[in-house]
């Protein structure tokens, strides 16, 4: 550990605001890049599920591709 105490670690020698702000932005970008694909995946699964519910009801075979 480079710092003597936890308070020092938070303060970052007076630059704490900037360092923690930058790392917060980093975290936000990571979280956005995790949440938006998950949402998209749910949406896609839902639309595929709906398609197959309807196709099964109409006895429609899967497309050949």
């Amino acid at each position: 550990m480079y710092f003597d105490s936890f308070a020092d670690f938070i303060a970052m020698g007076g630059h704490g605001t900037f360092v923690w702000m930058a790392y917060a932005c980093f975290l936000m970008v990571i979280i956005w890049n995790l949440i938006s694909p998950v949402m998209r995946r749910r949406q896609v699964l839902e639309s595929a599920r709906r398609y197959w519910r309807r196709a099964d009801a109409e006895n429609q075979p899967p497309s050949v591709d």
């Binding site: 020698g13 900037f18 360092v19 702000m21 930058a22 599920r49 398609y51 591709d65």
Partner: protein, 249 residues
Amino acid sequence: MNWTWFHKWGSPKWFFQKTEALVLWFGFLCLILLVVGTVWGLAFAPEDIKQGNSFRIFYIHVPSAILAQSIFMAMAISAVVGLVWRMKLAHIFVQVAAPIGASITLLALVTGAIWGKPTWGTWWVWDARLTSTLIQFFIYLGIISLYQSIENRDTAYKATAIACLVGIVNLPIIKFSVNWWKTLHQPATFKLTEAPSMAAEMWVPGLIMLVGFYLFFAFAVLVRMRSEVLEREKRTAWVREYLEKKNVL
């Protein structure tokens, strides 16, 4: 030469099945690397003599700036593959990489601004690198908005690929002109990093973060690509099987 490995990538089904385990590996590895890099960079690396602890922003700023450029390169290469070999997966890659690239570029810009405040005394400097990164961010936004506003998907894929290529041809000219504009208006006064004299204990966490960033991109892009493949192929039998296996249906 045997090209079957290349042609296999043309099959969405093959891609989907092959990447199932790969995604988890990428996610796991990037999690470890990013956590190790962050903790090391924040708590264990020594501070810079001139910049003090604000130097710790380096560990996210520089990897994100490098990754932002790499993503654009990867998109352009992929655009060529999509246009020449009409490979759907390449088009999907371009489409899903653009928002990730834009977010990473934004991260590089914002962390650059935050770093600038304690180092240069202002949030924003019309520094050559910052300016060309800003313009690169605008190009990303233009490509994303182009894709989103074209209704027909195949047309949108082609148009996005062409826009990517136009962007990559112009990027060196933009970078050069901005650099040149900078030297004309005022002499270069700031150097962001003193790279050559950096101690190993300072750059090693940076390297770990860089690899972590690349793996994170690979992870994020694969997750998104898999969703898009699923959406495209939802009428096929193998997707049905997948849905049943996942207990969605």
